[in-house]
Subunit: 411 residues, 4 copies
């Protein structure tokens, strides 16, 4: 690895041991000025210590950036994604994937502001996050230099890392000396755990893995009933109370946590080519997905809904692979957003021991027509006889095929 | 409605009041010979009474067909559909849709056998089932005459129907005199309820609606752990015991029922153009879907899996709309089936109060490589440095775009 | 066919014999007031006679609407469609399909204006146009009554039609007495011919069929070179001269015609279920399609282009089937339009005896980077070594598959 | 670049200067045994000299492999691809892309046979071909070592390359001393030219670029009429004469060449992320594509055809990017091949100065029903009245939308 010529680098800094080592390693290796950026995405840790630690490691106060991005995160990243009912590989709610582009975006903004020529992050060379960060960086600042320490350095074992920390007077919390039993990423949308004790996909995850939700087994024996209000495809209130995006998601997280909702134990396919096993907790997001589908069920036209469904896997892949800041994501978003103007109304749900049960949906823009669907006399709203012509012409090509010897749709 | 010239008609006959009225009405209106066909698809009703009733209504013994199609149903219809992880509109497991083509197929076989020129069914003119039956008929026998009494006759109210029954000495069970509070369809895969008291989508369904599963609330407080074995993409055993398709699905239904699994309350879009609300119970199918996804997660290549995901919504639509016997279904099936040869192995699951929780998966054909994914030293299985080139070339088009003024993937 | 209760009907009226007969038949059969609407879509016929004939048939002057819709047609229908490089079934440029929604839209506007409760058109019951008209009507005015005389009346042979005309004093041009050898539809985008002498798909079309282009055989022996300028994805000028949409398309039609460009002899699949054979002439559109693809080739991002390509067949089907005024068309249009902001620049073409040959393209927003692609020394613009990591990670899943016994991507 | 430990390498060897230099460089740099493999894919060069040159450069006779792969190439690669009417980015017939996997496959077979641990090719680090070769290698032999000299060595200018050749007694043809004005790749399906004088996309290609076709301007003034016979979706004869795949394509190439057919000047998007400009000549393939579409137009069901169209862009991308030996290509192929059983019959075409004009198609399995489509009396084959119900139910969702305030399909 040839060392790049770097003057000033903006580091995505959590304040933890690993990124503190990276901070020091950047100073040492590149002899460059380091700017730290710490984002509050609702990961549930205080950010004060990050500032102190940065100062302690010699970062100038004007080079320390700590931002509360929670509302932006939910409003401009999480909500647009949920408009598409997005799941990766049928199940994963993309909690990590959707946070990376926001961090990259802010890092590049800071780089432009402080005149930095480089950025750096703490993601390893095996995972998806390096791709998501770096695709974001390049797309927003094509001439940026990128330093990915885990792909470059020789601190490849825990022992060496601790050694480097000790040699460089980096404080080490007691519980960080040993190997963590698994690796965690968290933000307001989800927590993910992977690696180490989770690497064998036949072994059930230990209960210790789940940190964001109680077990369905421990959840209350009575259901919690709530309503969620939507407007323009986004959730805007709970139980009739209007809430900001981040406040709303926080509330849903609490409700989900208390009712054992949103756990997922999954083997997924990484963009870099291997399979990995992750345990995800997305309490509020799991509720939100069901509720959004329910409000769409009465407000979206059939073909609009099916068209969304047909592009969703591609949209999920685009986000998972790290291409949020890409033409294809913007084009797909245009299609999705164009469908949401009338996705408005209220959904009633029961939350119970891991279950999210839709029990009602209503909307001022409902397309559900009881007059048409009713089993009772419909006063001519629908002429049943029309179905004959509908069926006969839908069947015509198949009849012609069968007459030509291709019965049953054989080819 | 001009009355067709019909000599002999094969009627899909359940033995219930409605199809008994149809039977009589066909005899009266078309002055034709009626052949009855009653299928056991695992709907949970005895078929003996259907024979007796047909005899009572004057059907000759040789014109009464009663077939046990349960194994065929699961093996040739349900399982192929589950290979695709098929859900309609994100949620519905297509329990009714998948049964119709089999009934149509057998009806046409009987028509060919007895020399009938017509077929008839008891589906109404508002629903999807008429389409599914008739598309099937036409595709298999393009010159067949189709009689859809509900679109033709004037027995459009319950009162008139009962009157007609009484005038024609059709026995009426006591509980069938009044209006049913909702309409039910059932087979081995699912039960569906719709209409009447379920027509208001804001009202939660009464507990009486659910007949196939106990409530999650009433399910046991301890989880039931099972394993399911797969081969060629199909489930072949439970807890290590090899089972035939229908036996296996029956077993899963019992497990699902006992654990409150597989309820769905949905507003969906019908092919005929309106929205309708249905309450579905698919206990075994719900478990099967999760298990199939889990075994695929370690045995399917990423792009194979994503390709399946991308065509699934279309495949679901094809089945929902009634085009099982069509070239497009056969082509999609060829794609799907081509992917399943190595989908083999075992999935461990916990069933608990409505939850299906995957806790392990293993396979002799696993593509999961612990050697590559591990957080530990991987002995060079994976060269982290490769990621740099991978990212740089994936980002190149975005960098070129950004250099041309289109930062962040703007267009 | 039960006759509807109609007070005032707006008829799409060409002034020809068939729609004149319809006009009279509507008056006679429905005893209703008839409003005629004649559109100039560049079909190349004078509209004056249509007014005179309508007056002659007793239509009040205030009930005669004649509109020049040529600029609207090209700007709001043709151009949006060409942004997607739309072709139906790989070849057909949708010249008829794209005109129908505009006619339907204007007809409904007139109906609202004059307080008509019904609309009527002259399309037959076998074709696509009835669907396109009526879907448009229903989508824009859901309670409108639709009269489709060809599906209702008994004037089903030429003889009867002529008889009716004679009985009702409808003037009959000499050359209209006999059967036309084929049926023609025309507008500014194309002419189509079908039916009668064209019904045998093994027979080559007679030269008489082609009315809009000279034969490539008769075209000049020297090529004509032109340039076309684009902005926001639409053509805006020829040879450096800015032109309005309709003027530009007229000019391209002249150029195409003179060079034998744009003939197509096709068997296509109708929405109503049968195959039909059509001979189409789209001289200007054929040039425009090639030019648009060429300007996109240097200005569109790869994934943007591929995403457009992947939804195009669906978009073409939506338009062909008559769903211009639908949510799915609007959503797809949003995706397509979102891609066109930088589709700007100039394309140079040679037109020669049926050939459209692109010979150059340039753009102020070009994404083509000679610096990167050059075979010469590129001063480090592109690091060839990056390709190794790119390939290795793209191949990783296949290598893991091969190691698990699935060589060559077998499944 | 760290030099790998290689014992025996199979080199894709053309016999030209570049791969001769590679041969020598491999011997020198890796001190390994070199096995040469030269394939006849119909590129139009004699292979005898390749053998002589290899001997001259010290390759042992048993290490020289020269194979005529022409029939395999057309039968197992070109024809399967044409079944899908495959074009990349709307235009490119993939002539280079489709040849690479066959070369890779044979190279790996030889490697297994001779016990080689490595393979090598002469593609540069900027292009798609390196990806196609190497993806193929890895997919077929996951532990193979790959040597890509152009990404590794320092012979990065023509001068250095010539120097190396001279120092190593590699014979240099007189016309190879200077820089070629552009780079050429050829096989039986096509010739491609790119680079150097073609790098400016605004400049028209010099006539010297076109080597495989005469100019439309120079082609005969009279059309050539031919017929092509198809069976199972593949061309099997010309003018009634049965021909083997390679013979047939050769014949079509001659016909195309003589009539100026198959030139394409294109800017395309490479998988490695940049745009490039290529001039392609695919004379026979261009004819074949039109003919295949024409035979499908009367033999394929509508939805089968549309489904093929909808997956084609993905299939083209898979091949272009080099993933022939992948699960996704095999799955797509299964879908495509499933559609071709009845694609049988004869197409008549006129070839004239760059034009391929379909003038007739017929088939024993035709789905074209003159009885249904005719403008004449159809004796009840088609009941026009059916169209009313068809349209009304297709419009129902849009009417319900309009009634809910969303006129014209607004959302």
């Amino acid at each position: 690895m040839r060392v790049k010529d770097v003057k000033k680098v903006v580091l995505a800094y959590s304040g933890g041991l690993d990124t503190s080592v990276i901070l020091k390693w950047l100073q040492t290796t590149y002899q460059c000025e380091v700017v730290t950026f710490t984002a509050d995405l609702g990961q549930g840790e205080e950010l004060g210590p990050a500032r102190e630690k940065a100062l302690l490691l010699g970062i100038k106060p004007e080079n320390i950036f700590i931002d509360d991005l929670r509302e932006t995160f939910v409003k401009d990243f999480v909500f647009p994604m949920f408009r598409a009912n997005t799941v990766y590989e049928g199940q994963y709610l993309l909690g990590t994937s959707i946070a990376r582009p926001l961090i990259a975006q802010r890092q590049i903004e800071i780089a432009e502001q402080v005149g930095a020529d480089a950025v750096s992050h703490g993601a390893t060379g095996k995972g998806n996050d390096q791709v998501r960060f770096e695709i974001g960086y390049y797309s927003l600042k094509p001439d940026v230099k990128i330093i990915a320490p885990w792909r470059e350095w020789d601190l490849t074992s825990r022992t060496r890392l601790i050694e480097f920390a000790e040699q460089n007077q980096i404080p080490i919390a007691k519980d960080k000396r040993g190997e963590a039993p698994f690796s965690v990423d968290a933000n307001m949308l989800h927590s993910s755990s992977e690696g180490k004790i989770l690497e064998e996909p036949w072994d059930a995850p230990d209960e210790i893995v789940w940190q964001r939700t109680i077990s369905p087994m421990d959840a209350p024996d009575v259901a919690t009933e709530i309503t969620i209000d939507f407007k323009n495809g986004d959730a805007v209130g709970i139980n009739g109370e209007a809430l900001s995006p981040a406040t709303l998601l926080t509330r849903l997280n609490e409700l989900g946590k208390a009712n054992g909702i949103g756990r997922l134990d999954l083997v997924e396919n990484r963009f870099v080519g291997m399979k990995s096993r992750g345990c995800y907790e997305t309490p509020g997001g799991t509720i939100l997905l069901q509720a959004h589908r329910a409000i769409e069920s009465i407000t979206l036209d059939r073909e609009a809904a099916h068209l969304k469904d047909s592009v969703m896997p591609r949209y999920a892949e685009v986000i998972y692979n790290g291409f949020w800041f890409s033409p294809e994501r913007r084009m797909l978003q245009a299609l999705i957003d164009a469908s949401q103007a009338s996705v408005e109304g209220t959904v009633r749900l029961k939350l119970y021991k891991g279950n999210v049960i839709v029990t009602g949906r209503k909307s001022p823009h409902s397309l559900y027509s009881m007059k048409h669907v009713t089993f009772d006399e419909d006063q001519g709203a629908y002429d049943q006889f029309d179905a004959q012509g509908f069926i006969k012409l839908n069947a015509l090509r198949l009849r012609l095929g069968a007459m030509a010897g291709r019965k049953g749709g054989t080819l």
